[in-house]
């Protein structure tokens, strides 16, 4: 997902995909006052086309869309793009939430919740995605992994690693302290931009997705080890 220099200075463009037109009207208005630029579409098909158009910095996707469900739209988007996606899920519906994260959603906001909550999540993701200027040349190397946090690019065993921006941030946190245990609380604060809540499965789901992408080690162990009660550790060699 290449980003032209112009977009660095442009407003954050948000794509809202929700069949509730009254709600998207209200949310657009709210987001615009918060300094975002919001566009709303009301069907999954349109959402998919718009999300893949490359015009948006972030997509807010409702899970409960009629006909083409939000989960299916996410699957189709992820097949071709790593654009950040925030899911709007029904409060209490854990299955949608976990499936969404497994499919590569960056975060979720339960419905109903205040628009302030949504804005906070959007900002947290955009902070991670938008590179800090002085760090563009920094390179992190550990074992077969090379990361360029500035370009948000990852090489794994010499090949491009397709990770979402959230997964990249988690991997970056682990790589910075490769060989040491990083606590879930630190991962949540530094990579997701919010503190860990009770029964929060987000970190675990993202980590398991990264694990799958890295594949097993020669000794059949996973590259990212979970240390019970402490956190996660990236094996450094």
């Amino acid at each position: 997902m290449g980003r032209s220099p112009l977009q660095e200075f442009a407003m954050i463009r948000v794509l809202l995909v929700d069949d509730d037109q009254e709600l998207t009207g209200l949310l657009s208005e709210y987001l615009e006052r918060e300094g975002f630029e919001a566009t709303a579409v009301h069907t999954g098909e349109e959402g998919e086309v718009q999300a893949l158009s490359g015009q948006y910095s972030i997509v807010v996707l409702d899970v409960m869309l009629p006909r083409l469900s939000g989960i299916e739209v996410l699957r189709r988007i992820r097949a071709r793009s790593q654009v950040p996606v925030v899911l709007l899920t029904a409060r209490g519906d854990n299955i949608d939430r976990i499936t969404g994260l497994e499919l590569g959603a960056d975060d979720y906001v339960p419905k109903p919740s205040s628009p302030g909550e949504l804005v906070a999540r959007l900002r947290a993701i955009m902070r991670r995605v938008q590179p800090v200027e002085q760090a563009t040349t920094e390179v992190i190397k550990t074992g077969p992994l090379v990361l360029w946090p500035g370009k948000r690019q990852a090489l794994w065993q010499g090949r491009e690693l397709g990770v979402t921006s959230t997964e990249f941030s988690l991997l970056e946190e682990l790589a910075r302290s490769a060989g040491q245990v990083v606590s879930k609380q630190d991962l949540s604060l530094n990579a997701l931009g919010c503190p860990l809540t009770r029964y929060d499965r987000r970190i675990d789901v993202h980590i398991s997705s990264i694990r799958q992408k890295l594949g097993p080690r020669a000794d059949a162990k996973a590259w990212i080890q979970s240390v019970r009660g402490l956190g996660y550790l990236l094996i450094a060699e």
């Binding site: 709600l23 209200l26 006052r33 029904a90 109903p112 205040s114 628009p115 302030g116």
Partner: protein
């Protein structure tokens, strides 16, 4: 394999006792008939002879042996110490011999052709062996019968407890094999019940899911409006917005409660004598106002009156929902036709409500009576509960409701209600 149940033991004991008793009684009768009084057994005679000799002397012994009608192969004789025959017939080669001191003090020798107590020469009394075989056979037979009757019940019981714990996918029939009897019928009924329960519970789950979604939508919009109000307290229009959303939630909850009421048993409704035609007049009059805004008319045609014992309130809601639905979907400047016809014998009333709107896709015709099922074109026109309530209300009155597309376009809903006099 399952542990034998209490029922198994009860059946087993009952069968075993019954068969064993029959067997023993049979054996007893046969034995008694063999020992007829005219032919006392050699053992008995031998014993009596010995008693007589001891207590009454040789003469008494002699008399007994004279009156005994002995079989040809059996004989008893009494000899003295010198080998002289004193009583009975001479026995050349005695098989059994016993020394007896008689009353007179003589040492006598009691001889017989057979050893007493040693069977009846192959056909005498019954031995221990047949008794044992009979008992074992009856035990085998009883345990088979008891097992055959008791084992399906164990499966049935397990299935029932599965159902009680909410595992409705449990099935008993496959365990019954090729068996065909009332127990298998019971198993089939049990499977059917589990399936019905599953459908019911699934439908309820689905409904609950839909309800929470429907309640969530106005709530989310309310939250967004509140957010905007926080951003800019001058936005007074947001207060109106919040007001509207809260009213929408109230309407939805009202409709849900009605739906819950019509989910009850048909005999739970309070019936009263109602003229349904008069009821239709009232509803059409009300709907006329709403239709007028669109430039439409609602026309009522039909029989003069149809009085039946029904729940006036539920039927009012039912017809109101269907007629208002028709008014909502009919084209501008068109008319909604309500035709009420009683059957020739007056046993039932059919009310047809037809609009001149776009109709419904054939595949969705049956589903429009499901809760929260609504047209895709009309956004925000209702919750999709009206027709569901109407359908359930009609069913509670023992009637039927059907939707069909009219050849010239538009939807027609036919409601048939039976005449009820009680």
């Amino acid at each position: 394999m399952m542990k034998p149940s209490r029922l198994f033991w009860k059946l087993f004991l009952a069968f075993w006792l019954a068969t064993s008793l029959t067997f023993f009684v049979g054996i007893g009768i046969i034995t008694l008939s063999r020992q007829g009084p005219g032919n006392p057994h050699l053992d008995t005679i031998l014993e009596s002879e010995e008693q007589l000799l001891r207590q009454f002397g040789v003469e008494a012994g002699k008399q007994l042996l004279q009156v005994w009608h002995h079989p040809d192969d059996e004989a008893i004789a009494v000899y003295d110490s010198g080998g002289q025959l004193l009583a009975g017939l001479p026995i050349v080669r005695p098989v059994f011999e016993r020394t007896v001191i008689s009353k007179e003090g003589l040492t006598l020798s009691l001889r017989s052709t057979r050893v007493p107590g040693n069977g009846g020469g192959g056909e005498g009394g019954p031995g221990l062996m047949p008794l044992l075989i009979g008992t074992v056979m009856s035990a085998l037979f009883s345990s088979f019968m008891a097992f055959y009757l008791a084992w399906p019940l164990a499966y049935l019981r397990r299935a029932m407890s599965d159902v009680a714990q909410g595992r409705f996918e449990t099935r008993v029939k496959p365990f019954m094999g090729a068996r065909r009897d009332e127990i298998v019928d019971l198993a089939e009924d049990c499977d059917r019940m589990a399936n019905q329960l599953k459908l019911l519970v699934d439908a309820q789950q689905h409904l609950l899911h839909d309800i929470s979604h429907e309640l969530r939508s106005p709530l989310t919009r309310m939250q967004a409006a509140i957010g905007l109000l926080h951003q800019n307290p001058a936005r007074a229009d947001m207060v109106e917005r919040i007001d509207r959303e809260s009213q929408r939630m109230d309407t939805l909850i009202e409709a849900l409660l009605t739906l819950a009421r019509v989910q009850g048993r048909p005999d739970s409704i309070a019936r009263e004598s109602v003229d349904i035609i008069e009821l239709l007049h009232l509803i059409v009059e009300d709907a006329q106002f709403e239709a007028g805004i669109k430039g439409c008319r609602v026309i009522l045609q039909g029989c003069p009156s149809f009085v039946s014992r029904v729940s006036g309130e539920l039927l009012y809601r039912c017809f109101e929902n269907v007629i208002r639905n028709a008014v909502r979907h009919t084209r501008a400047d068109s008319s909604v036709l309500v035709v009420a016809e009683a059957s020739p014998a007056g046993h039932c009333l059919t009310v047809r409500i037809s609009d001149q709107g776009p109709g419904v896709e054939e595949s969705r015709l049956q589903r429009i009576f499901d809760p929260f099922e609504r047209g895709t074109s009309e956004a925000g026109s209702g919750f999709g509960l009206g027709l569901a309530i109407a359908s359930r209300a009609v069913e509670m009155h023992g009637g039927s409701i059907k939707a069909s597309n009219l050849p010239g376009g538009g939807l027609s809903v036919a409601i048939t209600l039976p005449l009820s006099l009680m």
